[in-house]
Symmetry: D2
Subunit: 359 residues, 4 copies
């Protein structure tokens, strides 16, 4: 049917549709004793928000998140933390003319085939609106990882269309709407987006990310590997088509003598592994890259069918991002945080569980 | 600690180490009523086996699989199917000289950091020996998918080092040890491998795969998406570093008007989506690609440390594949089969669950 | 930490504290296509509500449930159904004087020891307020079971203190606040409760329940047995101390020749098994009984400690039921419905999964 | 279909049929670093074994358990521990005459209805033979609980037919085949069993159990409560019909002023709660009681049907226990150990996860 929970020891469950009254999530398994405020969550939500620049959808949601459970006197209690946001700027009428149309490249076709019923308003459950709750929950996971282990997670735009971008100065990624550390290339990106928007077309993007200070030993072989669960997490984000861990697909053409990260004087000499060996963290930076496909909702007409199977020409006039990947950086960070915290909690279980002094 | 179960409705649990007495698995949730024989499983095991050609490890396991439960009078009963194989050609002495060495690029470092104890014989639990059981269980899933839905899964070598390979004639992939349908290029591959083996180095590989005849509607949004669970499955295989679904990373540079698969006369005009939209199958071929890193065990010396933290030079003399990816095709097929069957069973639950005639 | 999800294919997750702003739940895995209205849910909530009679807590919640996701144009979509209720009559000041006291027989002691932090207002997360959401979700499961399979579930009061009650006319259980089919004994129960309330003390209760028309074949051996999951469900309800399936503890003194339910002319001659053999339904009525302990919150003083470990005398003045078991019947029904629907969905998976015609 | 895994962080999966070649289990999530030997497991298996006295089935299995994975040089590695036992004394011919008969009170009917196929030999998967593996895995959990926390678990016979037994001297329970601490009443029990066996009939039994030294704070509200998971565990054992926690069903007739366990001078004055409040351990003894139904396999004829629906008279001549509950004590101990260790591991996760020093 559907499966809306992610994680094992830290379990995140989201609910809500793009144009429903409310979206929300439940974060279960979060330890007691950590102070949290709605403002900390809103800080992350603003990073993800639409309407931040002219390059993203102009839907403007307040994302006024409420913490409705699991926190008492400002501190987590160990009980499920429910977060809810009321949708305020859902313009369902934008979609009424395409209620029975199957938009190419969207979940319309597969949802219709699977469920026989479809909330067509803005993609319903398949909308990226759902990722708001990932970012909200991720804000709590990021705080815990930072406080408990000094872990910091950063995601940045590393490719848009055929433009490649380096990490640059990652402290600058929030200074532009492009989540790039190559801040001097922002004008180039602005120009690129300007032309793209005029063309009516869209492009894909790649987001790279890293987590620093992850302790060695996190990850559960062989079906709860850290890299495998990161791949699951990334591929669960809307519009993703590929995931690299460390050197990723580039490792295919590498030789083993180059790829294997040698250790000299106790220091790894490279990090092609992306900080993960055999599914377990090594203490090096965890690095990954995620491919996002181009937006499918375009004002350029596309051939498709309607629910009656008749040919239709689909033209989308709603508010859409010409490159959905631009805003994906905070979502990638959030999912990385949820995966890492989940593994951190599992690893903590081991620490006190095998210090035997057997005779 | 460890997490050795994969799947939700069809649950696969494996156990055993490379040089332990026995490896095995339990496949739980398999429907009753399907005839199976050990020979059908052995057929798939032989496709994966080492020692098939001079290009793979020379360890020769009989892989004499026994079905010890869940089958009565040759037919599945609906109860857990346990499969076991006794290890017969485990040469543990090969490894004794490196018992305390940390081999670069292997799980030695991370296992040691995590567990504080390590079965160093042939990689212990982190060895690809474990994938034998995936192939064994996958043989049953493949049969069920074929019989119940006509689904067929094929994986082939699409890149080795910097050599790109097309699908070619996929009916020929078992005719060479390279799992390639470009059968006329086998001499070129032989030559490549010959030089590689002489160099003492290794290379990575990419395996592509497709499943045909998967019905539309399989997959569970939003955290049990078909593509996300395929990514988890692929990234759980030893030595994987990347996963593409459909156009994968190539979709980053595509324009939306190209990527979205338009429908004319009821037919999709392309399949950049890889048969999955919003996490649910569309009825098109499911396509994916997996990156395998180069083998790390080389006779070329590498700098590393031992468990005392002292610098050591590691030279591996055991029996290893110069390109582990070559043999990965049957493993990719098996994992694809386990994921698809799991989703098939979940989807079947829906079929009889929502044919309401409500007034 | 905490684990707030119940069920495998139908997953129910609840959140919220007794005196928090909002309580709610997410019901994931519900099939698409079933019409539901808030009014249907409210009907069940009123059956459970406090303040219905003078024998229950006088807290009066409107329980104005909102369906905030998973339903489109009045019909389920197959996506997570989130239900939320705002708490309106939470009188937290009632509890301020006992903020640091450990009330005997409550979760105060164990929550304090586990979490080190405690929402003392009305029991916080450990309050029976949480069961409101079970009843809400159970209303949907009951409807599905009825429509899809004709299954009906009824729970009634079978013991209160030392008063034993027969099933009587179960169509009458909603005619009194006692959930009894022995409607002519209501005056006796009123008298009993009157004396009890005057005494300041409390008593326990037993609730019996049955489900009729459950098809044979539901249940998953050996760790997803129908009876075992019913026991888990019942024992998860606040204040429960025991569960009987079928003849339950009475079967200890039975002889095997009596207990085993013989079949004559195709009909079971008795139902000591409670409709479940080896964890799987037989098609007979599913029957069970649940023991509820007496309310621990009394105006009669009790010796205890505070969080500083100092001796205190606890006197509870809040609004409490002198017999919590009285209102438990709808909760037992709801949990039974959630378990049965979960198993129904799992069973449906099998129906289409093993109709092989193998040659 | 079937669900053969128990536990969340410590996951136990069993496989095998009564008269299959092999039974076994996989214990996943067990911490590294604990020495174990087959002999320690065999010690517990002998306590459960049939053929120990004339009061139990005369099937004599060697139960020569092999540890085939997860242990290296005698010490657990943190990887899945697989245990297997080859069946040696399975006399399948005993059952051939009843291959198509539905034995009343057994899983024959429900398995047949569910699966349409049935391993009729000795009950197949529904046989109590499966509990051998629970006891084997339980032996490891008991050792861990003892070493890590000083926890000790003891189960004893507290009722057989209508004979009630006190705990007596629990250090003596292994001195007779009756698992009773009332060692002076063994002659009475012998006499009772002698008459019972002559009658050809059977009786039920109740097993009581306690765990001492369980730390406060174990258990996960609200759907992973310690008592609820104990109830699930107990009800998953063959032939169980009821579970009491603490005062259990007796609490129905108790008054609240008696039931609630007051604290004077820091000491609980009673333990009606059975060591669990709101699903979390209090540090008091965990106490429970389990009801076992009488054996259904009797030489006394019973009316039933065969798989063709025709009336048959069933007479069972195989080797059966006249009171299955007698041997259940070690199984109850094992399941209690698995539940407690699972919760212990979950609790350990919390210990290092919330010691924040937030400014």
């Amino acid at each position: 049917m559907s499966h809306n929970t992610f994680g094992k020891n830290l379990r995140f469950t989201s609910f809500g549709e793009s144009h429903g009254s409310t979206i929300g999530c439940v974060l279960d398994g979060f330890p007691p004793g950590m102070p949290i405020t709605p403002e900390e969550i809103k800080h992350e939500l603003r990073r993800r928000a639409t309407g931040r620049s002219k390059h993203t959808s102009q839907r403007r949601e307040q994302d006024d998140v409420q913490i409705v459970s699991g926190v008492f006197e400002g501190v987590t209690t160990g009980h499920p933390i429910a977060l809810i946001i009321e949708n305020t700027d859902a313009k369902s009428k934008d979609y009424s003319n395409i209620a029975t149309q199957i938009r190419p490249g969207h979940g319309d076709y597969s949802y219709w085939k699977k469920y026989g019923i479809r909330d067509y308003r803005g993609g319903g459950r398949s909308s990226a609106r759902e990722t708001t709750m990932r970012v909200a929950a991720g804000a709590l996971a990021k705080k815990w990882l930072k406080k408990q282990h000094g872990i910091e997670i950063t995601a940045w735009l590393s490719q848009i269309g055929d433009i490649q971008l380096q990490a640059g100065d990652l402290s600058k990624i929030d200074d532009s709407p492009f989540f790039t550390g190559e801040i001097n290339r922002v004008p180039e990106l602005e120009e690129f987006m300007h032309k793209l928007r005029k063309s009516g077309d869209s492009v894909g993007a790649a987001i790279s990310a890293k987590a620093v200070n992850v302790p060695a030993g996190w990850g559960e072989p062989v079906y709860g590997k850290l890299d495998a669960e990161l791949a699951l997490a990334m591929m669960s984000i809307n519009a993703t088509k590929g995931v690299d861990i460390g050197a990723g697909f580039d490792s295919v053409a590498q030789s083993g003598s180059v790829h294997r990260d040698e250790i000299i004087d106790g220091e790894f000499q490279s990090n092609h592994a992306g900080g993960i060996l055999a599914g377990i963290s090594t203490g090096q930076d965890i690095t990954l890259k995620v491919a996002f496909k181009p937006t499918s909702s375009l004002r350029l007409p596309a051939q498709s069918i309607n629910e009656a199977g008749e040919p239709v020409t689909v033209v989308t006039k709603g508010r859409h991002d010409p490159c959905v990947g631009i805003r994906a950086a905070p979502i990638v960070e959030a999912m990385m945080a949820l995966v890492l915290m989940d593994h951190g909690l599992r690893h903590h279980a081991q620490i006190n569980s095998n210090q035997h002094t057997f005779e």
